[in-house]
């Protein structure tokens, strides 16, 4: 039990450490490195997984790429690499892996069953709207979709997105604007009905 308390305390401590400091601990001894990697995983796994899932449309591939992303992160940390913007760096690793995967496997990524939602707790209109958003995302050009996912699903700022995708801030702004505008135009009739009913 004492060990459990210590572990929880260590986890709490590592939660208060900055991303860059945790990353700097990866080359240290195994116990410290494991703790640091676990803390980084807790912070970013959901975002990386969501990004891979939304870009590639397959849960299992997203899981694979999530794993690869953190292994690459660990390897780079072991080499003592210095980074300043950790979220952008991590997202860049994930993005490059997704792009490589997509280049290797050119096919339609989104599987209909992946959008099958069954939760009774989610209001029906929300489920339906999510279905429509998923379907509409598929209609967007890949660049626009990526910008939208990084902004809305990953919560990155325009500057961070610019860093991740290696494009200027203006390009990012335009892509996000056009992605959202196109999405809204597609969904406008449904949203109008939704607003009228509510």
């Amino acid at each position: 039990m004492h060990t459990g308390i210590m572990q929880r305390q260590r986890a709490k401590d590592s939660d208060e450490v900055s991303d860059v400091d945790l990353y700097a601990r990866l080359p240290l001894e195994d116990a410290v490195a494991q703790e640091a990697l676990s803390a980084l995983y807790r912070r970013y796994s959901q975002r990386i997984y969501t990004y891979c899932r939304k870009i590639l449309g397959d849960n299992h591939i997203a899981e694979d790429l999530l794993q690869e992303t953190f292994i690459k992160l660990f390897d780079s940390g072991k080499q003592g690499r210095i980074i300043e913007n950790f979220p952008a760096y991590l997202m860049t690793i994930a993005r490059n892996l997704c792009l490589s995967y997509r280049a290797r496997n050119k096919r339609a990524y989104v599987q209909v069953e992946d959008f099958h939602l069954t939760a009774r707790d989610v209001p029906y209109e929300h489920k339906e709207l999510l279905h429509l958003i998923h379907a509409s995302l598929e209609l967007l050009p890949e660049d626009y979709r990526e910008a939208f996912v990084l902004r809305e699903y990953n919560g990155l700022t325009y500057n961070e997105i610019s860093e991740v995708i290696g494009e200027s801030l203006d390009v990012v702004k335009v892509r996000i604007f056009r992605a959202k505008k196109k999405l809204r135009d597609i969904l406008a009739p449904y949203l109008s009905d939704l607003n009228d009913n509510s």
């Binding site: 959901q46 794993q67 292994i71 939760a119 989610v122 958003i133 902004r151 406008a188 607003n195």
Partner: protein
């Protein structure tokens, strides 16, 4: 810098990226353009919906990453992934419930057996006449050839509607039905038109006094092979009794091992949980014969079920996609009519039905329909198509997972 148009300003504002100097222009535009206000509502609705759409990686992903980096030992082979259950007691009760259901099914099926069926040992002990005149009676002539049992004679009025004939070489062409017809003249032999098998190989019916019955009942043949003390041999029986009721006594126990559909499509990567399991989709059953060609028993299996559902985590809807390998226990019933021979001797249709409880998950069941082949010997091979369902709970809601696919089985009669 070119000032943003109201559309661009609106989207930048929603994203928190609008310059302070542009905000007032946007507010002015919102005040004077109702369509811009509608657009803002729509944008916020989309944003809210997207923010509810949270995805979490599987719980095992972190361990797999740590193992891949060498920071922790890999997950042990054979791990069975199951969802959390409230208490150990509930797991025990659920598992016990599955077994109990199987036992109850077996009990009721077993108790439908007609007590008037008399087996060979009853004949030997002279109980063959018990329950005379009460309809379907059967006795076994398997011992006639060995002379162990005195054959019924005309002087002793015995009505025998069913004959079991054990032949070691060839099946009989005709089966002698022996019946008491009151004071009618006896010692008549009738060839049953329903029998079309080959001629008897010197079948020792000559010593059997027989009576003609005017309405010869239909006879059913049942075959089974077993591991007898003297080695492998196949029993062939003829029975007039209901095909569901005859041939029970000598039918052997059996053990059935079978595969189950994988629940992982060929276009999908095999999940780690399935890779790690020693028996990802297999089951073994002990079966007991209760009716003609019907066996029931208990079965235990390990089975992967692909589960995709949306649930709540910390008040937010989360899509879960997992393929746990579940342990389950239950009852099973198998039907394989041995009187059928499809193209090959011993090739017959079969069906099985299984119901039980998956540990820490919920009720499950599957049905299989296919073909069974039993060449000479105690082995029966089956192949068929299976459809299975699993009910499971998460945060108070029930979900259903289904799967189907080909399955094969090997049964050994004991």
């Amino acid at each position: 810098m070119t000032p943003l148009n109201p559309d661009e300003a609106l989207y930048a504002f929603v994203d928190g990226e609008l310059e302070l100097g542009d905000e007032q222009r946007l507010f002015d535009a919102l005040a004077s353009h109702p369509e811009l206000r509608t657009e803002m509502k729509d944008v916020l609705a989309i944003r809210n919906a997207v923010h509810r759409d949270v995805l979490f990686p599987p719980a095992s992903a972190e361990t797999e990453i740590l193992a891949a980096t060498g920071l922790v030992a890999p997950v042990g082979v054979g791990a069975v992934a199951v969802a959390a259950s409230p208490t150990l007691l509930s797991r025990f009760l659920h598992t016990g419930g599955g077994i109990l259901a199987g036992v109850i099914i077996a009990y009721f099926l077993f108790n439908t057996e007609d007590s008037s069926i008399v087996n060979g040992s009853d004949t030997k002990s002279g109980n063959a006449q018990a329950g005379l005149g009460q309809g379907a009676q059967s006795t076994q002539l398997s011992d006639v050839q060995t002379g162990a049992t005195p054959p019924p004679v005309a002087a002793a009025p015995v009505r025998v509607e069913t004959l079991y004939v054990r032949v070691k070489d060839k099946a009989p062409k005709s089966v002698t039905s022996i019946a008491d017809n009151g004071n009618e003249a006896a010692n008549a032999e009738q060839t049953n038109p329903n029998i079309t098998n080959a001629a008897p190989n010197g079948g020792d019916f000559s010593g059997i006094a027989s009576l003609r019955i005017t309405t010869a009942p239909s006879l059913y043949m049942s075959s089974s092979s077993s591991l007898a003390p003297g080695g492998l041999f196949r029993d062939t029986r003829w029975s007039e009794a209901s095909p569901l009721m005859a041939g029970v006594v000598d039918a052997p126990y059996s053990i059935r091992m079978r595969s189950l559909p994988s629940s992982v499509g060929s276009d999908r990567r095999i999940p780690q949980s399935v890779n790690d399991a020693v028996l990802a989709n297999a089951a073994v059953a002990f079966l007991y014969p209760v009716m003609h060609d019907v066996r029931v028993g208990a079965e235990v299996g390990f089975e992967a079920y692909h589960q995709v559902f949306t649930t709540l985590r910390d008040g937010r809807p989360v899509e879960v996609d997992q393929t746990p390998v579940l342990a389950w226990f239950g009852g099973t019933a198998e039907w394989a009519p041995s009187e059928f021979d499809l193209l090959l001797t011993g090739l017959r249709p079969f069906a099985s039905l299984t119901g039980g409880y998956a540990l820490a998950q919920g009720p499950m069941g599957n049905i299989v329909v296919g073909l069974q082949y039993q060449p000479l010997g105690p082995l029966r091979m089956s192949a068929g198509y299976s459809y299975g369902m699993l009910g499971f709970r998460d945060t108070g809601n029930w979900f259903v997972s289904k799967k189907y696919g080909f399955t094969y089985a090997l049964s050994v009669d004991l």
